[in-house]
């Protein structure tokens, strides 16, 4: 749990290729394993491939029985229609603003709290750290109504602020950053103090740059959570102008007023950014999740 850079096993063993000598016979167990893995991979991927293929199909093609495997032409009309038929750009804009602003806020306040918990001695430190950890056990689902009442009394219902602020103080983020900061030598901070650096300046100019890997993990996790978040936006974003993509999708599906081909196109747009992010930052995401075990 404490180490932040594992990925212990090598991805590819240099000495073990098709051409290398040694025990290289493909046994029945090996074959069975590959068959199971490939089947499971297909099960994991087929719905996503089906969705992407569907986003290019016309309404007629979508209602064909039995379903067509491939669209007849790879037109983008579903996407362009979705853009023009309703406020798709607004939902996309809302999702983007909420994700970016909430992630920035999370990084700022989580790293400050983590720094205090990792590098200072003060009264109530252990108590506050335990309190932070304990709140992992209090998921939003459980406090949905009282949180909503707080947000409502602050006038943040139907505002993007109501989507950005309430969940910004994530215990997971504090935990990951604190663990990482513990590994920064105290001498470095002491040295900065001797040089006359103020506490906040030391934090900004020395500690934060050293925490870049941990900050990246928290940022990526936060982006993933916020982009896909549903229950909270469903509750706070009651008017169409503040819908995020998932809320818009769910509402439109339930109302059955929006053609299905447009819903599919919107779905593809809503899953693309996170998948692209994952493909770029695979290593950080994998080690980050594996080491904290928290979602």
């Amino acid at each position: 749990m404490s180490s932040t850079t594992t990925e212990a096993a090598p991805e590819t063993l240099p000495g073990k290729t098709w051409t290398s000598t040694g025990k290289n016979n493909i046994t029945a167990t090996d074959a069975l394993r590959v068959v199971i893995l490939v089947t499971a991979a297909l099960v994991a991927l087929v719905p996503i491939v089906w969705l992407v293929l569907g986003s290019f199909k016309t309404p007629t093609e979508l209602s064909a029985r039995p379903p067509l495997l491939l669209p007849e032409s790879w037109g983008l009309s579903n996407y362009t229609d979705a853009l023009t038929r309703f406020d798709f750009t607004t939902y996309l804009f809302n999702s983007t603003v909420v994700t970016i602003a909430a992630t920035a806020l999370t990084l700022a306040i989580n790293s400050m709290a983590a720094y205090a918990l990792a590098k200072y001695n003060f009264r109530g430190k252990n108590g506050l750290f335990l309190l932070t950890l304990a709140t992992i056990m209090i998921p939003l689902q459980v406090i949905l109504i009282p949180v909503y009442q707080v947000v409502a009394s602050l006038g943040m219902v139907n505002t993007l602020w109501g989507l950005i602020i309430p969940a910004a103080a994530t215990p997971t983020g504090v935990f990951i950053l604190r663990q990482y900061m513990l590994s920064i030598p105290d001498e470095l901070i002491e040295a900065a103090r001797v040089d006359g650096s103020g506490e906040f300046r030391t934090f900004i100019q020395i500690v934060l740059p050293m925490c870049r890997p941990a900050l990246a993990v928290v940022a990526i996790l936060s982006i993933m959570w916020r982009w896909n978040d549903f229950l909270w936006p469903l509750v706070v974003a009651q008017s169409e102008t503040v819908y995020t993509l998932p809320v818009a999708l769910a509402r439109f599906t339930a109302e059955e007023t929006v053609p299905f081909n447009l819903i599919i196109a919107m779905s593809v747009v809503s899953i693309l950014p996170v998948i692209i992010l994952f493909l770029f930052f695979q290593r950080q995401i994998v080690t980050g999740i594996a080491n904290t075990g928290i979602k």
């Binding site: 719905p47 932070t132 459980v142 707080v150």
Partner: protein, 302 residues
């Protein structure tokens, strides 16, 4: 702490400033925490003691909401759905998660590829997950029934039949989350010292024997983490069910979070009942987490 020798006098001089500094660093996080998590958690108990109609007029009820919720047959149906869902979800998540993790771990060529592929469903918006599966499971001409039709299997009413819908909701939940658990288990597997396997091989233990006597016991801590997380996730399931079945047919897949949401935000609004449901949900999650840890600790000690 370690650098005590370096300039002790300066330390004393700035002690007053030091006294406030950590609190200032903590302030923004704790303010948001307190306002949007800790205070609501306390207030939730309070709200659950009041009656309400349409989210307004409150009257002290004491345990009245709990009494009416616990004598409500519909609520017990939802509890039953939730328990069945959570139990099956945890069991399948652990079993499939371990199998996938072991297979991926043993797979030298393409390990990263498989790991990524199994993780991709975790990344997808749950709303979209529900939507896609709802579409693929359409009774007539849905992808799944068409595929089964090639093997001569007649149309299956996946989302219409109560029992089938329950199975579908569980299966889709596992489909969506298992890659995440696999990742934790894979990290656990890779932290096992390979020399223990060499020793076992020298002793002539076959692969199955190695798995039972070595891998499984050494993987226990990771399995415990997965059980705890899957239990919490299992009791929180809502978002993808909302677009997959909407809780139907006739409430067969309505779980506790949907109950809380509907009582809190869909007319007729009943905050008191919703909060009572929330408190009961919290107690269930809390109790099960404690039990999981205790069982896990005992296993580790034994």
């Amino acid at each position: 702490m370690t650098a005590v020798q370096t300039a002790p006098p300066r330390k004393r001089k700035s002690s007053l400033k030091m006294g406030l500094v950590p609190y200032l660093f903590l302030l923004p996080n704790m303010a948001i925490f307190g306002l949007f998590t800790i205070w609501p958690a306390i207030n939730g108990f309070n709200i659950s003691m009041y009656s309400s109609s349409n989210g307004r007029t409150f009257r002290w009820e004491g345990a009245g909401n709990y009494q009416s919720i616990l004598t409500d047959a519909d609520f017990w149906g939802i509890v039953r759905n939730t328990v069945i869902y959570a139990f099956a979800f945890v069991l399948l998540s652990v079993v499939i998660g371990v199998v996938l993790a072991v297979l991926v771990d043993q797979q030298r060529r393409g390990r990263t590829f498989f790991r990524s592929v199994f993780f991709i469903p975790v990344l997808i918006s749950p709303v979209v997950v529900g939507l896609v599966w709802n579409w693929m499971l359409e009774r007539q001409g849905g992808l799944v029934n068409t595929f089964l039709g090639w093997f001569g299997i007649p149309e299956i009413p996946w989302l219409v039949d109560n029992n089938l819908a329950t199975i579908v909701v569980i299966a889709v939940g596992v489909w969506m989350q298992v890659g995440f658990y696999m990742l934790i288990l894979l990290a656990g597997l890779q932290s096992i010292d390979p020399s223990v396997y060499e020793a076992a091989r020298v002793d002539g233990a076959n692969r199955w024997r190695q798995f039972i006597s070595l891998t499984f016991p050494l993987l226990q801590p990771s399995i415990l983490v997965v059980v705890v997380l899957a239990t919490i996730h299992g009791f929180q399931a809502f978002d993808y069910i909302y677009t997959l079945t909407g809780g139907g047919p006739v409430g067969a897949t309505t779980l506790i979070v949907q109950y809380i949401y509907e009582n809190g935000f869909v007319s007729p609004i009943r905050y008191g009942m919703a909060s009572a449901g929330s408190v009961l949900l919290f107690c269930a999650i809390f109790a099960l987490t404690i039990i999981n840890w205790m069982v896990g600790r005992k296993r580790e000690a034994a």
